[in-house]
């Protein structure tokens, strides 16, 4: 059989496969479009229900602002246009300053927390006595609601940035530590033994076997840790939190400016979604073999 024959016979098969692929891709695209459509419909239903409740004035307008009120608040607070009395911003800061300050606190706090968490997790997974001592401590810390220890942090570190960073650090660290310890402890013995028998040293095993195998789970832990820090930021900003989204929400609550409260919640929610999407992208990039190896 000549090479040409082989090629001729293989061609329809290859075409079939590419047809299959194309069909599958089209189906996937349709599914994605359907998901997106459904989400949009759900969002529209939710907005409609909100608008209806506000328009019927079931509760006083002060308690349940309409979507339009919140949009107005957004325009004023973000500085796009001044309100009737010519003011922009809230509590002396524009929306992006509030959000930027909160995000900086989250990034710094959970960044330090992540580094410490990974180190702690590695220690817990590899050194027996450390595990015995630290495991219950990490669990203890993980169960504490942030507001409970925040009072102590304020007494110790004052009212400026330090206690806020500490709170976010303490909130973000335990999930990372637990995930790291579990991931490192869960690396298949065969991988390690295999690498060893091929002559790999301690460092090589750690760098080329344990870390790649544990990385996807560690990244999940980091995502969880950042999420916990994110949900704690409002607690961190209960004392002297302006600028900051949490401080803004609190301030607005004092003056019963519900539209700004709702705006703050929406901004927190949306930026949280974006942050999580970023982390998920990192997760896919750094460990594409997750669930396949």
């Amino acid at each position: 059989m000549s090479a040409q024959d082989v090629a001729a016979r293989a061609l329809p098969a290859a075409q079939d496969r590419s047809d299959d692929e194309r069909r599958e891709r089209a189906a996937r695209r349709r599914a994605r479009a359907r998901t997106l459509g459904l989400r949009l419909v759900a969002l529209a239903v939710l907005l409609g229900a909100w608008w209806l409740v506000a328009a019927l004035e079931v509760w006083p307008r002060v308690l349940v602002p309409s979507p339009g009120d919140v949009l107005d608040a957004f325009v004023t607070v973000s500085g796009l246009a001044p309100d009737a009395s010519g003011r922009t911003g809230f509590s002396g800061h524009l929306l992006h300053e509030h959000l930027g300050t909160s995000l900086r606190r989250i990034v710094v706090g959970s960044g330090i927390g992540t580094v410490l968490g990974v180190v702690l997790g590695l220690l817990v997974a590899t050194v027996g006595p450390v595990r015995t001592v630290l495991e219950p401590a990490v669990t203890f810390l993980r169960q504490l609601p942030p507001l409970a220890y925040f009072s102590l942090l304020v007494i110790w570190f004052g009212i400026e940035e330090t206690p806020k960073i500490w709170l976010l650090l303490v909130a973000a660290m335990p999930p990372v530590a637990v995930a790291t310890a579990a991931a490192v402890g869960g690396v298949h013995r065969d991988y390690v033994n295999g690498a060893r028998s091929l002559g790999a040293g301690r460092w090589d095993v750690a760098r080329w076997v344990v870390l790649p195998a544990a990385l996807p789970e560690i990244l999940v832990g980091i995502r969880l840790g950042v999420g916990v820090a994110y949900t704690s930021v409002v607690a961190a900003e209960t004392v002297n939190g302006v600028p900051g989204i949490g401080g803004m929400i609190r301030d607005a609550q004092r003056y019963l400016q519900t539209d700004v409260v709702v705006l703050g919640i929406l901004v927190l929610g949306v930026s949280g979604l974006l942050l999580d999407a970023c982390l998920r992208a990192v997760e896919r990039r750094a460990g594409p073999w997750r669930g396949r190896a």
């Binding site: 996937r28 599914a31 079931v58």
Partner: protein, 358 residues
């Protein structure tokens, strides 16, 4: 892939439907309960079934009334409920939400409540106390601050949206210190104490008992700020609906408050003891705190300096209007209500009913 995905479509739809239904049901439930209580209240005209009082831990006659049980005594058929709040802002919220009939709040939360955008449908019924030296601006020893003007460039703590915040802003304006020249920090009294001890703040405008715990140098007091044209009060408010439906209960409430002020003036030790029991404080400490407040009998409140009478309205509405003007300039409220409108928000008729002949 697609066969496992297909079931998600109805699941999502169902979730959306259930959420919508749930919201509708909650809505229906809420409206039906509120109308039910409304019916019950209007059906019984003899006296209210329930009187919900929003109170605060401030040393004044309200706590005497609560401790001695005078309202429960005067309204035997009524379930008197005392609900504690930590700030006038919270009392405003509770009134808007319909969970309080009578409440105690400082004059600046009440001014905000009477102005747009809140525009709460309540009326000012009583002056619990005129705030004097019990709220003061103090500078920390070692901060090098000896006058209000020295505060430029310094950090000052106060609980935002309170009467102290209002007085601080007025004192700074009086001394020619701009809001942008100082750093204002929103802290609750207990947090002020911590920040003060650590040296994080240079000065604080706060009330008793925290004020005494801070020590330091007094820069100004609410007495002085009042002389400068910005008096502050702790006020009693009643919702218009309750006042219209149950004038008898309002009268009984006024009588009880007046009796408490009489006790505060005639037998301060007995009053301090009752208040101390509510605040968990020794009597002599309460006596010190009471010294920084002024209490007014009902007959004084019906005089021209305060509420006045329906025929001859007093100066209080104008005082509220000037407070509103000040708050508007600070951006705390959207618009200044006019004096005639504020006059209508003072329950002079109830005062005249009870104290008219005295």
């Amino acid at each position: 892939m697609s066969p496992t995905r297909r079931p998600r479509t109805p699941a999502l739809l169902v979730t959306a439907l259930v959420t919508g239904l749930g919201a509708a049901l909650t809505l229906a439930a809420c409206t039906s309960t509120s109308s039910a209580t409304g019916d019950a209240a209007s059906a019984d005209a003899s006296g209210p079934d329930v009187l919900r009082i929003g109170y605060q831990l401030i040393p004044n006659g309200d706590l005497v009334v609560k401790h001695e049980g005078w309202l429960e005594e005067a309204l035997p058929g009524t379930d008197v409920q005392w609900i504690r709040f930590d700030s006038g802002g919270d009392v405003n919220t509770a009134v808007v939400a319909g969970s309080v009939d009578v409440g105690l709040a400082g004059s600046s939360p009440v001014t905000r409540g009477l102005s747009k955008p809140l525009d709460i449908d309540y009326r000012v019924l009583w002056v619990h106390d005129v705030i004097g030296d019990a709220e003061s601006l103090v500078a920390r020893d070692g901060s090098g601050v000896s006058s209000v003007a020295d505060l430029a460039g310094r950090t000052i703590a106060t609980p935002f949206a309170s009467t102290a915040h209002y007085s601080l802003t007025a004192a700074l304006a009086e001394a020619g210190v701009g809001e942008d020249d100082v750093r204002l920090v929103d802290l609750q009294p207990a947090d002020i104490l911590g920040a003060w001890t650590r040296g994080d703040v240079d000065a604080a405008y706060v009330w008793e008992p925290t004020l005494s715990e801070l020590g330091g140098t007094v820069l100004t007091t609410s007495t002085q700020v009042a002389q400068g044209g910005h008096p502050t009060y702790d006020l009693g408010v009643v919702t218009r609906a309750f006042a219209d439906e149950h004038p008898d209960a309002v009268d009984a409430w006024l009588e009880a408050q007046d009796r408490a002020v009489a006790l505060l003036q005639d037998d301060p030790d007995a009053a301090a003891e009752a208040i101390g029991a509510e605040l968990d404080l020794p009597t002599d400490e309460v006596t010190t705190q009471l010294a920084g407040l002024t209490f007014l009998r009902g007959s004084e409140q019906a005089g021209e300096t305060y509420f006045g009478t329906p025929d001859a309205p007093g100066a209080f509405a104008a005082s509220l209007a000037s407070a509103a003007q000040f708050l508007h300039a600070q951006g705390a409220i959207d618009a200044v209500p006019d004096v005639a409108d504020l006059q209508d928000r003072i329950a002079v008729d109830a005062l005249a009913r009870v104290f008219g002949g005295r």
